[in-house]
């Protein structure tokens, strides 16, 4: 049977792994190629590589980092960050990415998802959704998409958008709660559940993991097909195998090869 995936995420800025709190206050967490190699050996199910380099000229180096990272591991790699068009996607796939994640470009124009899926196959196209809760305490829960590291509200409803991109051919949704990112208080379960229930493609839960029970909750309560975390692994709080064994003990089917 298909196993639930555990995915460490490398946020890469100017060629280094960094990790912040709610997309700010970045601290250095090492070399991406070394990290990839270590996670591969540790039994991670996939690697997520998000390029958060801001300046256009610095972005040129990313293909080389992706190439070396993909070369360093025998597991699939999803690469995202700053993907604007089909040429960007092609370049990343040729550099060794197995899946490419589109964020702002899809928010700007959803049809890029359909064009990318027709070209590269639905399985290679991930849409990254960064959402924040916008409903008030006395309202029913509503989540809105934000771009540019959470600075720009879009007015787009996250659940509706997820359904739209799934219909257009996205193969997976990488769902980050911007309220929870880096907080270590757990995934936003209502958000995760709302999106997982709404689409028939896999959803990766992201943002907020601080304990191993949070990973379990993402799957059991949130309905995620895969769970992503960064800090708890980068800074050695838990190993990949500890996390997988914990999830397996909680009754989730995990790969423990």
């Amino acid at each position: 049977m298909l196993k639930t995936r555990l995915i460490p995420c490398l946020d890469v800025k100017n060629g280094r792994v960094v990790k912040g709190v709610q997309f700010l206050d970045l601290v250095d967490a090492g070399d991406p190629v070394e990290s990839a190699r270590a996670y591969d050996k540790a039994g991670a199910d996939e690697l997520c590589f998000l390029d958060i380099t801001a300046s256009a000229e610095a972005r040129g180096t990313i293909l080389d980092v992706v190439r070396r990272t993909a070369e360093a591991c025998f597991m699939p790699v999803t690469v995202g960050g700053g993907v604007r068009n089909l040429d960007d996607i092609r370049a990343l796939l040729l550099a060794g990415a197995d899946k490419v994640s589109i964020n702002t470009a899809a928010v700007r124009d959803k049809t890029i998802v359909a064009r990318a899926a027709a070209k590269f196959g639905t399985q290679a196209i991930v849409v990254a959704i960064d959402a924040k809760k916008v409903s008030l305490a006395n309202e029913s829960e509503r989540f809105e998409i934000f771009t540019h590291g959470g600075r720009n509200p879009t007015g787009i409803d996250a659940v509706e958008f997820a359904c739209d991109v799934a219909r257009l051919g996205a193969g997976e949704i990488l769902l980050t709660s911007m309220d929870r990112d880096g907080t270590k208080i757990g995934y936003d379960i209502p958000l995760t559940k709302a999106i997982s229930n709404a689409v028939n493609i896999p959803v990766v839960a992201s943002g907020g993991v601080g304990t191993l029970d949070h990973l379990v909750d993402g799957v059991k309560l949130g309905g995620a097909s895969a769970v992503l975390a960064a800090s708890i692994f980068h800074f050695g709080t838990y190993t990949i195998m500890e996390a997988k064994q914990h999830m397996a003990k909680a009754g989730i089917a995990m790969r423990l090869d």
């Binding site: 049977m1 025998f74 597991m75 699939p76 639905t122 028939n200 097909s225 895969a226 090869d257």
Partner: protein
């Protein structure tokens, strides 16, 4: 041993090359992997690997766009009988036709159709994405030293469409995903895996070692 790794602008060639080199070094075999689409090189190779990521129709188009490529593949595989391995869409292209975004003719080396996965269990999501175990349908040298079954090793799958063969004797192993998904096919010197051996850690390297040792 000369390996032709076919590059027809359809995906991740480097991972496959790296994995082949690791597999060869594990069994003390010296291989020379040439990446490209030159018909002459393909005809001179001892073994051929056809990878592929992407949509069926787009991959077929790229394959046919290289002059003399399908003819060279046909000659090496059918006339000379050299071992051939298709990976993911590279396996699906062997089918009679694919139904991803309209109907497209495949190479028709193995009779069958590539159709969208429609699990009986509606809770199962498509694409079939992640690590799954293999169930053998028949013994085959490509599965040597690979632990199969529910408690066996895992292979990495990443696909929304799957190969439905006309002749079930061509199916070597399946994976369970709301239905039996064709995971490994083989007929004579032609083989294919729906999963990505180059991304499947232990199982993948062993399968590639088996392919390099395979004498069909």
């Amino acid at each position: 041993m000369k390996i032709a790794l076919i590059d027809y602008d359809a995906g991740n060639i480097h991972s496959v090359r790296k994995a082949l080199n690791v597999a060869a070094s594990n069994i003390g075999l010296s291989i020379d992997v040439s990446v490209g689409s030159d018909p002459d090189t393909i005809c001179k190779a001892d073994r051929i690997v056809l990878p592929g990521d992407g949509a069926f129709a787009d991959c077929v188009e790229h394959l046919r766009a290289v002059e003399g490529l399908t003819e060279a593949l046909g000659e090496a595989v059918h006339k000379k009988g050299h071992p051939f391995l298709g990976i993911c869409v590279g396996m699906q292209l062997l089918a009679t036709k694919g139904l991803e975004l309209g109907e497209t003719a495949g190479l028709d080396w193995l009779k069958g159709t590539v159709e969208r996965i429609q699990p009986n269990d509606k809770a199962l999501k498509v694409p079939h994405m992640g690590w799954n175990t293999l169930n053998a349908r028949q013994p085959h040298p490509l599965l040597n030293n690979i632990e199969l079954g529910t408690n066996g090793l895992h292979a990495y799958f990443l696909h929304a469409y799957h190969f439905i063969p006309h002749n079930m004797n061509d199916v070597i192993a399946t994976s369970e995903y709301g239905q039996a998904i064709t995971a490994v096919i083989a007929k004579d010197n032609i083989a294919g895996t729906q999963f990505h051996p180059e991304k499947s850690q232990k199982l993948g390297v062993q399968l590639l070692q088996n392919f390099l040792n395979w004498t069909p």
